[in-house]
Symmetry: D2
Subunit: 317 residues, 4 copies
């Protein structure tokens, strides 16, 4: 045979098998039948992409209960050369499990990944008010840790599927405080031109403010509001050099090739000491972006034509 | 002779000779030795231009005491095809004159052009509190009217030079309420490309608001303030169809070819149901326009380059 | 006689009989049967009030075509001790009259009060494009002036009723450019407590801006918009000391005893170097003021109670 | 004995001894010699206060590198009846320790409290790029866990003092990514009247926005900026019911008894569906709050006097 088989693509994700991240990757049609590479943390996943070991990485970016995933946001803010190319939602639910024979009233220490722990906080406060929390590395590791004794806990919060793979006592299910809890994942690749607009797009940015006062944030938000652009995520993150200095992670409805979004990006670039464009990509929910008619593309195009005519000295129509 | 003499240019102005308008036209180097055409009102001056009888018209547009000259502003708002090409300032001062033999204490009726009257209002209130006002057509006509008896008045407000041309008793001089009173004139031609920027330019606009509430005016003003552009004139004028509907006449510091001004004009065009661009032209005072460094041309150019790179998928510098 | 007759009240107005101002005064029930005092100008009318010769003065403040009446606005801005206590609307219409035997095609000079002239400007441009304008002191004086020869004109713009009182040729009627033209008058008294709110009130203010840039006007307008208050009049007036410095005359929907208006007034007072409160009074059109529910009085009261509780350390409800 | 000994006060804090939280409590003069009650998590500390087992609880609220402590912020947002009464700063620094004999190049799994982990992320990426993270319950538990084998790790991130209490190999010190890293703690009591202003105060709030768009956040921020109030903390937190709905945790410079702050609180209360006032208390750094003169207390008082005079009909001064 003279023709080489097409190279398989590699996708990094937070493993092991069974995590919510794997469930997100499972939603990517192009990833089926390709190489899936489990990694230990977000930094490793993004390094895989930047250094060519992977073509893309699936990482959790926001949770409906916990908010932005801070390690992800901080990594995206500081590592150049990356771009988000897709968004995926995974519904999250939790169970409380323990070694066989354990009873709920015996539990004093609960192993749980911190994000999972936060999402079950209300339930725990009601049913185990005196519990102590031991953080686990993942929703799988929490359960494994109590089974093999590597975590000093007598119960674990885990994803529901865990009881099918391991011999565990199900102490309680549906313990998440919010029935609609969902985690948002993004697929990240090396810098690439954004895919064309679909009408149902999202644009992600990280913006540093020029000065540390409320006025600067006002000015940032106005760049969107004065162009009819809605924000679906706004998360402050400390820059880290001193208390009171923040960068903002934003998801804005629309695509960089939409006139109003391009105009907003220009305004932000002129104003901010540092803007990271993370990408324009189709929304997971495929919901068409609505905006006031006055911010439609043709309004921008018409205004530019008008301005050109004025400068040329053409009579007005 | 084989060579045709160059055609003389014609300039319309509010006559007769001796008006402040003539003094403004006197400041225009290109108008020297050309044809000066005195007219009776602003409408006639602008018709001369629009219908080709004149190349340009000098008209008063604003007075430091009285504000915008409303007939001028309304004419510019409604007559398409005109453009301001120059700005000129004339210092204004007034005298009170009467037929020979008249004494100040005898005066009961004062003839005066309404704008001149308003500028001497304080002085009249102090010295002639019971006077009655008879409007005159100009600062020359007021004095002539009391001399020939065509105006039922016993004194007139006029420009100081009047006593050199007519036999009049000078009852008081320097009667203007403000020593720094000045009238601003503009030279208006048919639509033409704006002259290149000089760094000391002004841009004049008339803008109708989309709705009749304060929010719309806020939005208009923000188009300038968010781009570091100062306004030197802001005059509301009723659109005239009902109480409470206004258009706004604006003078903004800068030139349509300045990036920040072009961007502001685009924003206004997208937002307003009707914008009249009256022109970008050198300021009478030749004062260089100051603006924050963040609104400099190269900041706009750099941002556009950045945006192009993002869309193309180029790695960030 | 033991019983003193009640003192008659005196009302000053711009005379003579037959002016639009008299028609406005005619709408005031309390003025019927009282003393009406015709005066020559707005300054005289306001002096009558300030010096006790009159109890109140009726003056024109705004015209739907011409905008604010500048002499009125400037007088109210500079004379302390006055307050608006009522508002009245008079529909305005105009006729063109001349000495018997005159034909329209013979007219070359038109006598007219400047405001009336401006309101017929379109009609004159169409039917008498070459006319010259001679200003008259009032809509009555214009007609009398051509009859007695005291005004050098061959036609006059006047109010329709003029032909019932004088022998004049009616050259044209309905010559006003706008069928809905109306003039707004206010009744002005010495400083007095505002009448209680009616639900259909208006508050008039004159505000100087702290600095001469657009940002200050933005801040003024936000005092209203952030409290759901609509503006029905916004008129810039030069302060008069130099070009580019303005004060603003505002009519805002609502009453000083409405919580949202009181709060806005506090904000304006803190921000402006000079605020003149002209009064809160019932609207001429008796239209109930609409505003978003979130700016209702009880929302303000509830917030104050909440704040008091916080400071006192009371447990939250 | 006739005299009762004064009751000892009880303070809850995140134990065990040696945590940064204990170092914060150590800064409270009133807590010396009183009862210190170590607890396992923030929820337990706040329950102690609410249920009367403790008089106050010391909890971490913000870290200069990691931002707001989300479990603390979410607990304060949802538990009524609490108030912040003091603020304390603790400088944070970290070491990497291991069982005696371990070498840095042997380390593959690092135990660390998630917040500590995030603060050493850069150092770990450089020196241990392939490491895996095992979360520990505290900066003390991480080290104990590797000593007693309860955590499956071969090194631990801990506070520097750890090596004085336990036999550990110091693999690296000063591994925090930021030399100025500091954690901010607050002392929380049951609802009580705020202590009087000191001039160097801070006010903490949690505010829900009326709608899920940028405009609502703009309006919130304007409540501060239009009164000259600076924000030192602004942290978004998901409300948790669905993606895209946020509450905001704010620290504002000033005290509830400052006029400008009281006025801002009133504005926020009127606008927000839910405001939690967490308290006004002295700043840890004792820095006097600076603000523009136009927002001084006497400006507010003067404006209220003026308004009262207007309503009473008093002549203006």
């Amino acid at each position: 045979m003279t023709d080489a088989a097409p190279a398989r693509r590699t996708y990094s994700y937070l493993g092991p098998a069974g995590t919510f991240t794997e469930a997100a990757l499972d939603q990517v049609p192009e990833a089926r039948g390709q190489q899936w590479r489990p990694v230990h943390n977000v930094g490793e996943a993004l390094s895989d992409v930047l250094e060519g070991r992977s073509d893309a990485a699936m990482i959790a970016i926001e949770n409906s209960v916990e908010g932005g995933v801070t390690t992800t946001l901080d990594a995206l803010a500081t590592l150049p050369g990356l771009r988000i190319v897709g968004e995926y939602l995974v519904k999250v639910d939790f169970v409380l499990v323990a070694a066989p024979g354990t009873r709920l009233e015996d539990v004093t220490v609960v192993a749980a990944h911190p994000v999972a722990y936060a999402q079950c906080y209300g339930w725990l406060g009601e049913h185990l008010p005196r519990h102590q929390h031991v953080p686990a590395a993942s929703n799988v590791a929490s359960a494994l840790g109590i089974l093999d004794g590597s975590l000093p806990a007598d119960a674990a919060i885990a994803a529901p599927g865990i009881v099918q793979h391991h011999e565990l006592e199900l102490l309680a299910d549906g313990i998440g405080d919010n029935d609609n809890a969902v985690t948002r994942f993004v697929l990240v690749a090396r810098t690439v031109a954004p895919a064309p607009p679909t009408g149902a797009d999202k644009t992600s940015l990280i913006v540093e403010l020029p000065e540390d006062h409320a006025g600067a944030l006002l000015e940032l938000l106005e760049q969107f509001s004065t162009r009819g652009i809605n924000l679906s995520l706004l998360q402050s993150r400390p820059i880290g050099d001193e208390l009171g200095r923040y960068r903002f992670v934003l998801d804005a409805d629309g695509h960089i090739q939409d006139e109003r979004m391009a105009d907003a990006l220009l305004g932000i670039r002129r104003f901010s000491p540092r803007v990271v464009f993370l990408g324009s990509y189709p929304r997971a929910d495929r919901r068409i972006v609505q905006y006031p008619e006055r911010y439609a593309d043709d309004v921008f195009v018409e205004a530019r034509d008008w301005l050109r005519g004025l400068i040329a000295g053409e009579p007005e129509a």
